[in-house]
């Protein structure tokens, strides 16, 4: 990281702030101007919200903007767009797709969701059955059902994988699309989860029309394209940069300090263990980021997500127990469809239940361990009977 580029970023940020004073600029106008100034995500290319600068320099921009009270794009509302759709579009999109889709994605004008999982294809995602067929008019028709689709009810766009050639083995006949969620063939039904709310949905796709210009990557290459999405998903869940004692552990430590009457020696031992685990995980993420100033995350990112899920579950379980009688209550079981996802929002009981999803969403902890064992450690795969068989001949 050169001081010249740090200085350059600072002065660019200040120039933006003086031209668009956050105090009397509409938030959306400010965000658009920030994108156009290349200060949205500095590691993106020039013209697409970035400056081709090292990823780590984003912190310089963010600090300047936060100090000036500038509005942000509320990443909790658009996590899937920022964390998964954007890096995939950047890597596989055409110039036209990138310039059309990335700006409203980043400003939050357009929310994205991920139409990957299906009732019959979760961990075994490559077994998916949603079909896409190309018509003579160059438009694809999509039929099938997706499930557990977070923010489908607020989304304008989806990243979608569908089967385009059932005669090929399962990994080979898949194609990746962006899907317009306003298409009349898209039906979104809320799916209530253990927290009481419906963060995710079932999505029924019936004769959905997708122009070929909304295909991402080549026909039949969808599985490869999806790897970029999935690798990024793993680092985006629990991969955020935090200060020491940021996030969950800070909430629990705060309760510990404020409430001496709750303390026991046994709980203290456990809290200290969790605190160390949280700090080690934070340092692990920090080290990963230092290695990743440029380029795409690899399978190692699975580690941070695996560690994050384990820690979140331990800490939230600990918190409910620490709260004693209060831990027996729950804030609200009302069925709502939230606009944003915040694992640490609401109260201890909610956090405890929501954390259960952390080891399921974005690849279960079991699947992540498989990935680490095979792709990082190089252990041999388990014998597989389904790999080279045409998808249509697999038992379902």
């Amino acid at each position: 990281m050169t001081t010249a580029s740090v200085e350059e970023l600072r002065s660019r940020t200040r120039a933006l702030l003086s031209e668009f004073d956050p105090a009397d600029t509409e938030p959306l106008d400010f965000l658009r101007a920030r994108f156009d100034a290349g200060l949205a995500w500095v590691h993106f290319p020039v013209g697409l919200g970035g400056l081709d600068a090292p990823r780590a320099l984003q912190a310089v921009v963010d600090a300047e903007l936060a100090a000036a009270g500038a509005p942000d794009n509320d990443p909790r509302r658009i996590g899937i767009g920022l964390g998964m759709a954007a890096p995939t579009i950047l890597r596989y999109g055409t110039d036209e797709q990138r310039s059309r889709l990335l700006r409203p994605l980043w400003t939050g004008e357009e929310v994205w969701c991920q139409l990957f999982s299906e009732p019959g294809a979760g961990s075994d995602l490559a077994a998916l059955a949603t079909r896409a067929t190309l018509g003579a008019d160059g438009v694809w028709t999509v039929d099938g059902q997706k499930v557990w689709t977070s923010s489908a009810h607020t989304a304008r766009w989806a990243i979608l994988i569908a089967r385009t050639d059932p005669a090929l083995p399962k990994h080979k006949g898949i194609t990746y699309f962006v899907c317009d969620m306003t298409d009349p063939g898209v039906e979104v039904r809320p799916l209530r989860q253990i927290t009481g709310e419906a963060e995710f949905n079932e999505v029924f796709l019936t004769g959905v029309r997708i122009p070929d210009t909304d295909r991402l990557g080549a026909v039949g290459e969808g599985w490869q394209v999806a790897q970029t999405t999935l690798n990024n998903e793993r680092v985006s869940i629990g991969g955020q940069r935090t200060p020491r004692e940021g996030g969950l552990v800070g909430i629990v430590a705060g309760t510990w300090r404020a409430r001496p009457e709750l303390r026991t020696p046994e709980l203290q031992q456990r809290l200290l263990k969790h605190w160390v685990d949280a700090e080690v995980l934070r340092l692990t993420g920090e080290r990963l980021r230092q290695q990743l100033t440029v380029g795409q995350p690899g399978p190692e990112g699975a580690g941070t997500k695996l560690g994050f899920a384990r820690l979140a579950q331990e800490l939230t379980g600990f918190e409910v127990e620490l709260l004693a009688e209060e831990g027996l209550g729950y804030d609200d079981w009302t069925m709502v469809r939230p606009e944003l996802v915040d694992f640490n929002g609401r109260e201890a009981g909610y956090r405890y239940l929501r954390a259960k999803g952390n080891s399921i969403e974005g690849g279960t902890s079991e699947i992540l361990r498989n990935i680490i064992a095979e792709r990082v450690l190089g252990l041999p795969p388990e014998p597989r009977t389904d790999k080279d068989v045409p998808w249509k001949d697999l038992a379902r």
Binding site: P265, W275, V280, L306, I372, L379, P381, P383
Partner: protein, 364 residues
């Protein structure tokens, strides 16, 4: 805070690793522990005199390399990975740090001679404390000071004391004294065969006062605990790599054992622990090297995590090698013994967590 390795650090690692591969393969370590002295003086000379590894943290004006504890930590990693039988912890880390911490009060020529000799490897030294001593709790000296400045008493279970030429000895009120003659070191039968312990006896032993400030001893113990985390990382990495390598090759039930998911998942979890150990050990080394305000927190975190991980890795290594892992001829036991001894050395993980409670305000 730089958690990566610089190019210079990677070069240093490569030369230490080459040296150890040539002169101290595990087969040689296994043979050596059967002999009269576990330490390998020839290896030490090469490491210290030729590579300059013993003087990395010693400033140039004391004839050292003028590098830092970050580089010293890299050497610890490699020595741990090779369970190398050399007195690096006692000499280049504990004694050297204690001497450096006495800079403000000790006579410069005394300090210069001692540091210079430790740095070029012509002499070895150690800090005369039981290896189970820990930073962050009061130290109880077992050596008394006579009015004529001589020392009497006994210190048990001292690492790297056998064959040491000079000792830094904590006296009353945790003052530090330099002893160069007139002491005896009696070997103990130690759990860790590659870092044997000894009991030290002083009987009106001539000594020179280095410092009356108890902070110097604490600094040495803190630095020792922080850098031991790097050794523990090296141990854990060896154990993980050896186990992965073995399970890739070993076949049972007509397939490589490494293809069984139950084993893969155990190794994936261990890998994550080791990745965390690397980040925590680097953070501690960096904090110590830069004298960061929160160095004590970084050390407590690293010591608590890495101490646990090294033992787990060594235990998994033995278990997942099956019967071979239980044999004397396989090196796994050297790592297990080193890891378990390190678990107790310079504070157990539980001790470091108790220290942390005070440092980060999580009171009982």
């Amino acid at each position: 805070m730089n958690l990566l390795y610089t190019e210079i650090e990677e070069e240093l690692r490569a030369s230490v690793r080459d040296l150890l591969a040539d002169h101290s393969p595990v087969s040689a370590v296994l043979a050596r522990i059967e002999g009269p002295g576990a330490y390998d003086p020839a290896l030490w000379r090469q490491l210290a005199a030729e590579l300059g590894a013993a003087g990395l943290q010693v400033p140039e004006r004391y004839a050292g390399a003028g590098a830092s504890l970050r580089e010293t930590a890299v050497v610890m990693e490699e020595l741990g990975r090779a369970v190398a039988p050399v007195p690096f912890l006692g000499s280049a880390v504990l004694a050297t740090t204690a001497l450096l911490a006495a800079q403000d009060s000790a006579p410069d020529d005394v300090l210069g001679n001692a540091l210079g000799a430790l740095a070029d490897g012509s002499r070895t030294g150690t800090l005369a404390v039981p290896l189970s001593s820990a930073p962050g709790r009061p130290f109880t000296p077992t050596v008394t000071l006579h009015p004529d400045g001589t020392l009497s008493g006994r210190v048990t279970s001292v690492a790297d004391a056998l064959g040491a030429d000079l000792l830094v000895v904590p006296g009353p009120d945790c003052s530090l004294h330099l002893v160069e003659t007139g002491f005896t070191a009696t070997p103990r039968t130690s759990l860790d065969l590659t870092r044997p312990l000894a009991d030290l006896t002083f009987d009106r032993t001539p000594a020179r006062l280095l410092t009356a400030d108890p902070a110097a001893l604490q600094r040495a113990l803190l630095t020792g605990a922080g850098l031991l985390a790097s050794e523990q990382l090296g141990i854990a990495e060896w154990c993980l790599a050896a186990t992965v390598g073995y399970l890739r090759e070993r076949r049972q039930f007509n397939r490589p054992l490494g293809s069984f998911q139950a084993l893969k998942h155990r190794l994936a979890d261990l890998w994550l622990d080791v990745v965390g150990a690397r980040a925590a050990a680097r953070a501690a080394a960096d904090a110590l090297a830069t004298e960061a305000a929160d160095a004590a927190v970084a050390v407590a975190v690293a010591a608590s995590h890495c101490g646990t991980v090294a033992v787990r890795a060594a235990e998994e290594c033995v278990q997942l090698h099956g019967g071979i892992g239980m044999t004397w001829e396989h090196p796994a036991h050297l790592y297990l013994k080193r890891a378990k001894a390190d678990h107790l050395a310079l504070g157990t993980p539980a001790h470091h967590r108790a220290v942390l409670a005070g440092l980060v305000d999580l009171p009982a």
